[in-house]
């Protein structure tokens, strides 16, 4: 194998596929990046759970393949001058990497032992802009459960239905929901899909996706999912089973409604959290809503906090307590300046929503006193 490739392109590919390279494995080949030279360079990382494939433009002078240790290869390319990089596989899988006046020789591994990515048919894909998906994952992933006793909740639901794409995470104490209506609706936007993607996969795909308007497609077959960004693809297993019917969880009625500034409320909760230095379930934050004022208090051994915030209020007065962390994590990801919060009773869930539309819903269960 011989090729010439710009440092910039090579590094871009490495940075992406490295996210699927295992760092905790006893199999050296899984610590490697598979490099295949055909018309272009194809790089692959595969930790057997997530796989990433990336195509890089290069001047291929001899086809072939090799596996190079991901960390070492990445560090070398990162340190090279911004110039053309020449890579050649020599005898005994020795690889020469040359750039200006630098020459590296490192050992590679035969490509034969590298595990193949699952093959997933590219049909009935969910179409979405990369930026939209990146944002939606960021705005829901924090509510993914880490409790392995409820394995389906350790992932997020991707639901596509009637021209609307929705992501939902639930951890038993709260729910995060984000949805977008497909623009310039195409036939395939109505394809019905319910996929549950592991939290780890979501973390990685969110890092790979660029905040650009370019569209990408999400395909699935069997228990595998494929994210297709054009130059790069990522595959992952899916979680198998039935996801909760989230629509039945979100209350339709309310007894109290407030309208409040998002960042001001977030700051109140963040300050209240400062005296809650441990055992957050034992030390809730209390909200007392009446007369367009919400008083937020926390009392612990470390100290007391009292915050007052102006709200627009409709309905009954309310005295209710929450885990501060659930509120803070939801408020942090909301980009809207103002939000509505709908309360049922002081033992029922509250729901944070936009003033108009239903782009998001964050449901939080209170702590009973």
């Amino acid at each position: 194998m011989k090729f010439v490739c710009s440092k910039e392109n090579l590094l871009e590919g490495i940075n992406v596929v490295q996210k699927a390279v295992s760092t905790k494995t006893t199999l050296p080949i899984l610590e490697g990046i598979l490099i295949e030279a055909g018309e272009k360079i194809k790089m692959t990382g595969n930790d057997l759970e997530i796989g990433i494939e990336c195509y890089v433009d290069a001047d291929v002078r001899e086809e072939g393949s090799i596996v190079l240790n991901s960390r070492m290869f990445g560090d070398i390319v990162r340190r090279l001058p911004d110039s053309e990089v020449y890579l050649e596989v020599k005898e005994n899988n020795t690889v020469a990497i040359e750039c200006e006046n630098s020459l590296f020789e490192i050992r590679g591994l035969s490509a034969e032992g590298f595990p193949e990515l699952p093959s997933i048919e590219k049909s009935d894909g969910i179409r979405i802009s990369q930026k939209a998906l990146k944002d939606m994952i960021r705005q829901t992933i924090f509510a993914v459960s880490t409790d392995e006793n409820r394995p389906m909740l350790t992932g997020s639901l991707f639901e596509n239905k009637a021209g609307v794409f929705t992501i939902v995470s639930i951890d038993g104490y709260r729910l995060a929901m984000r949805r977008v209506v497909h623009e310039n609706s195409e036939q395939t936007d109505n394809v019905e899909r319910r996929l549950v993607i592991p939290g780890k996969t979501l973390n990685e795909i969110a890092k790979i996706i660029q905040p650009v308007d370019d569209e990408m497609y999400i395909y699935a077959s069997g228990n595998q999912i494929l994210f297709d960004m054009g130059k790069c693809i990522m595959t992952s297993r899916l979680l198998e089973g039935e996801y909760l019917n989230y629509m039945s969880i979100i209350p339709r009625e309310h007894e109290t409604k407030i309208t409040v500034n998002t960042k001001d409320l977030q700051a109140c909760f963040e300050r209240a959290s400062l005296v809650i230095t441990s055992e957050e379930r034992r030390y809730p934050v209390r909200l007392e809503i009446s007369d367009d004022i919400m008083v937020i208090t926390a009392n612990t051994e470390a100290g007391n906090v009292r915050e007052e915030i102006k709200v627009e209020m409709e309905g009954k007065k309310l005295d209710i307590s929450f885990n501060h962390r659930y509120f803070i994590e939801a408020l942090r990801v909301i980009d809207n300046e103002m939000i509505d919060i709908f309360f049922t009773t002081n033992i029922g869930p509250c729901t944070i929503r936009p003033l108009q539309g239903d782009d998001f819903a964050y449901l939080i269960l209170p702590i009973r006193k």
Copy 2:
């Protein structure tokens, strides 16, 4: 005690004195910041090794003092709105902190138990600009020894003599020296001083000093040093004993001299270091100098690197080996575009110097093959 102070001023003071607050202590009072309200607010942190005192402008309404947990107090003030902060000590050392619609009540400790800073006479001070001292410490601290068997080398020498201020660090394998000639020479610039300041103190003072041209003074008496930045002071113990006569270590003769671009050479060493994944003393980087070319190679089980770099050469050809880390750490802190390197023999030290003057010298011992 009662005062009103802007959040900004209060936080600036906290951020500085926090650097002297102990995080690993069983004495709660040492985790605190002493706050004393007189004409201004004086804040003090003291971990018994380093002490910092900082004055903050405030509207003091009642004099007094209290000790507040540094982490808690800092976190609270950081999270407050950018506004006026009202602080009041109430019964039983309870402290109320109020800002706009936020009210905190936390427990303080009586100021009585707080250890006093050592008193150091402000005479015969070394005068230096804050920026110059900050730079000089950064450019020498990496060569401070961590070997407790040679306690004097775990600090840097501050030498003031005949209008020149010099900092020197030596760890047995290398030496780092930076000097400045006092500008607009004053009488006191000729005061003779030889002080050895612990590495930990240097680390902290370098963080506190701002990169501004304002002058500061360094005083010493007994085994204590005082850095006086005007609004803030820092005290520390000194290392007691005789520091090495560094002038006798730096060779006056050379057999080979090269002139080379600093950042290009640094990049060569950094690339060469990539194959040296462990045991750096076992795997030196080899320099072969001849005919205005320096060839830099490293050969380890992980791979081989060969770098070529253009140099201007004078004197004999040379084949010599070094620990890459010593070169990299010196080259990283040199701001000059070009440097001279003077070599004696392949078993004697080399010295990195500026093309003109003697603002710095970095001496490195080779590894014998």
